[in-house]
């Protein structure tokens, strides 16, 4: 596995096949991260705005284009398609050519994809605010936008797969397993979830497919991307290989087998046939076991390196995110049981759960990537370490408050409904929780401002980034000798 450790730190410009070529398209990388950070800013504002409707202080009440229901869809769709997708594409521009030794199909195509994708995201926001949504959770993108999304995803997949197919590496590194699988899954999931229930399959049969879509978008697109980046960046920062290659294999193949089977657990006790519901419950619990192996692999990788958390804020993001991931999956193994679903389904418990995974895990990991890459992409040191620390603690505190708060009022809501008290009592008991949720939203927004401000100020500052290792001058042999355990 020595060559893998070396390839993690390939320079931007390489000489291969007799010619010197630009391997890593840092411009695309930078552009996508700027877009991602811009969209998450809009998305956080939308989420915070939506939280005000629950404490009856919605600022633009009666304005059709800023109706809370529409703003909520902007919030979720911007996070999925504006923030996460942009950040993952940017991250892959950095990672994939390094692991394969081959550039992507075309750097010009990368720019086209960047412009096209962000135009699509802007069109989605317009479509949602003007009332053209589609009734598919996480896929509320207007139906006419779905065709554009499929084309955009297809182009990106071709662009990146080219690099992997042309690679001369004998074995693919773990990161590329996850990316390859996600390149197949993402278009399949999107087409299945957005076209079949809309055009061919009504009602309950369609609900089974929509359940698959809701879950697969997280499980088969976001999760493989996230673990792919973890398998790349954690060894790069700690300068240690992943503890066990065998456990990596178990984690990947376990996820690949069990994750696609989970979807129906979003509609337990619904009219969907019970065999599908039982199957979904069992495979959801199986996923928790798989996830544990991956987390153990990373904890053992970090053995003796935990002291680095003091210096490396990026590593903090990765490790806190991983902890949140473990909590999410452990929680999921219990909440997916039919018994617990009787009480907590339809409550704010689920909202807390989804924020923990989409924000506490994947947004944290992307924050870690930005923390690590921004100086390398711009050639400027971080303007202020203190602001980065504020960003870290505000987001960590924000998600901790939001998650515990929503989990608690979720149980309260479920029990009030169960006791057959009047419906409005569940709302009155939730008011304090919804207020605290709004506070946590402010914490996340202020944390975001710290990050964005720091990024902008770093770009404007003149202090060159001293650590130039990834920008070309680093000798290829430096990573050799750090072999993984097969």
């Amino acid at each position: 596995m020595t060559q893998v450790a070396t390839s993690l730190i390939r320079p931007v410009v390489v000489t291969s096949r007799g010619e010197t070529r630009v391997l890593v398209d840092t411009t695309s990388c930078l552009l996508h991260f700027v877009a991602a950070v811009s969209w998450i800013g809009v998305g956080i504002v939308a989420g915070l705005l939506y939280s005000f409707v629950f404490i009856r202080l919605y600022p633009s009440e009666g304005v059709e284009w800023l109706s809370p229901g529409r703003v909520r869809m902007v919030h979720t769709n911007l996070m999925a398609y504006g923030f996460l997708t942009n950040a993952f594409i940017g991250m892959m521009h950095w990672v994939i050519p390094r692991l394969t030794g081959e550039p992507v199909l075309s750097h010009a195509l990368s720019k086209v994809i960047f412009v096209a994708w962000n135009a699509i995201v802007a069109a989605i926001v317009y479509g949602l605010l003007s009332g053209q949504a589609q009734a598919i959770e996480w896929g509320e993108t207007p139906f006419w936008a779905d065709h554009l999304v499929v084309v955009g995803v297809g182009l990106a997949v071709v662009n990146f797969c080219w690099s992997i197919i042309r690679s001369r590496e004998k074995a693919m590194y773990v990161t590329l397993w996850y990316f390859t699988a996600a390149f197949v899954w993402t278009p399949l999931v999107y087409v299945m979830g957005n076209y079949l229930p809309q055009l061919l399959v009504p009602g309950t049969g369609g609900a089974a497919l929509v359940g698959l879509f809701i879950h697969d978008l997280v499980g088969l697109f976001v999760t493989p991307m996230g673990w792919g980046l973890m398998y790349f960046f954690v060894p790069v920062i700690t300068r240690k290989p992943i503890y066990s290659h065998a456990i990596s294999l178990v984690g990947f193949w376990g996820l690949a087998f069990f994750y696609p089977l989970n979807g129906v657990h979003h509609f337990l006790w619904s009219p969907i046939p019970m065999f599908a519901q039982y199957g979904a419950v069992i495979s959801t619990i199986a996923v928790e076991i798989v996830v544990t192996t991956v987390v153990i692999n990373f904890i053992l990788t970090m053995r003796g390196e935990w002291g680095r958390l003091k210096e490396s804020i990026a590593l903090r993001w990765f490790m806190v995110g991983m902890t949140c991931y473990f909590i999410t999956c452990l929680q999921c193994a219990f909440q997916t049981t039919l018994t617990m679903q009787k009480v907590i389904h339809f409550t704010d418990w689920v909202v807390g759960h989804s924020h923990l995974v989409m924000f506490g895990v994947f947004s944290f990991w992307i924050a870690g990537v930005i923390e690590h890459l921004w100086p390398k992409l711009t050639g400027r040191d971080w303007w202020s370490r203190r602001l980065n620390l504020w960003h870290f603690w505000l987001w960590t505190g924000g998600i901790a408050l939001m998650f515990t708060d929503l989990t608690v009022i979720g149980v309260v809501q479920g029990l009030v409904w169960d006791s057959l008290r009047p419906w409005e009592e569940s709302i009155r008991y939730s008011e304090i929780g919804w207020f605290l949720r709004m506070i946590s939203g402010w914490m996340i927004l202020v944390g975001f401002v710290c990050m964005a401000l720091n990024m902008a100020m770093s770009l404007a500052s003149r202090q060159d980034h001293s650590d130039r290792e990834y920008v070309g001058q680093f000798p290829e042999s430096a990573g050799a000798g750090a072999g993984g355990r097969a």
């Binding site: 409707v53 629950f54 009666g62 109706s67 229901g69 529409r70 909520r72 009332g131 598919i136 992997i164 690679s167 074995a171 693919m172 590329l176 397993w177 699988a181 197949v184 899954w185 999931v189 229930p197 809309q198 055009l199 399959v201 009504p202 009602g203 309950t204 049969g205 369609g206 609900a207 497919l209 929509v210 359940g211 698959l212 809701i214 696609p260 089977l261 979807g263 129906v264 979003h266 509609f267 006790w269 619904s270 009219p271 969907i272 046939p273 065999f275 599908a276 199957g279 979904a280 009787k342 009480v343 339809f346 689920v350 409904w417 169960d418 006791s419 057959l420 419906w423 409005e424 709302i427």
Partner: protein, 256 residues
């Protein structure tokens, strides 16, 4: 196991296809051969509330649907427009459309769906209720800030719904639902526009079918003597005394 082709074919296509067959195609196969109920067939059962809308708001009704009569064409138009508005305003993110089979009185010990929303002739939601042209895609929902709506037909009057859309706090003082003034023609909330009329029609349609479907297995069972303990307390208080006529006894002719 670490080659591009192997991962692409086995993990990417293979495992996804396997899951699609088990979790998508097999449930779908349960509905094989059952025709999807068309809009024309749905329009044979027009809730009387649609006629009330035509009577109470004749000018707005004509402006919205091109006729002053509650015709089948106007009803189909109103249903589809109402459903589009329901989706555009993301109503389904706070209101569900499914009654789960969970209830202390139904053997599952925990839950409240059936006690709150089920009717006497129909308990939990069944797949046939969703097997129609108004469910591309379904609107099950995953969050209940407000109550379930799948049996909302006739639960409230048209006027209640319009007052509720104008300002939910007028009818439900603790509601956190936002107001929808763009469902009305004027700035005073007196005359609903096309969207408002359609959404009220959609609300009054949801569940209007439930006495007219074929009887469920439960309904085919011989009528047992009335058991008070089956009902939650607030229903049991209103239950008919012995010897009185059963108010739910009369059965209508099944159009399907």
């Amino acid at each position: 196991m670490e080659r591009f082709n192997f991962i692409f074919v086995v993990a990417g296509i293979g495992f996804f296809a396997l899951a699609f067959v088990i979790m998508g195609a097999l449930p779908l196969a349960q509905y094989q051969g059952i025709d999807v109920v068309t809009m024309d067939k749905l329009a044979t059962n027009i809730p009387y509330q649609f006629g009330e809308l035509a009577r109470d708001y004749p000018d707005a009704f004509e402006k919205a649907f091109g006729t002053r009569e509650p015709t089948a064409e106007a009803f189909k138009d109103a249903l589809e427009t109402g459903r589009r508005a329901y989706i555009a305003e993301a109503c389904w993110h706070c209101h569900t459309q499914q009654i789960r089979r969970v209830d202390p009185n139904d053997g599952t010990e925990v839950g409240n769906d059936i006690s709150r929303w089920a009717s006497d002739t129909r308990l939990e939601s069944h797949a046939d209720e969703y097997h129609n042209a108004m469910n591309y895609p379904h609107l099950f929902g995953t969050r209940r800030v407000g109550p379930d709506l799948i049996r909302s037909s006739g639960r409230h009057s048209n006027d209640w719904h319009l007052a509720h859309f104008w300002n939910p706090r007028h009818t439900s003082p603790y509601s956190v639902m936002p107001p929808y003034p763009w469902f009305f023609e004027d700035g005073e909330g007196r005359i609903p526009n096309r969207k408002g009329l359609s959404l009220v029609t959609y609300m009054q349609w949801l569940g209007s079918w439930h006495t007219q479907f074929a009887p469920t297995k439960y309904e085919r069972l011989p009528r047992l003597p009335f058991d008070e303990s089956w009902y939650p307390p607030y229903v049991a208080e209103e239950a008919p005394a012995e010897g009185e006529a059963d108010p739910y006894g009369a059965e209508e002719e099944d159009p399907y």
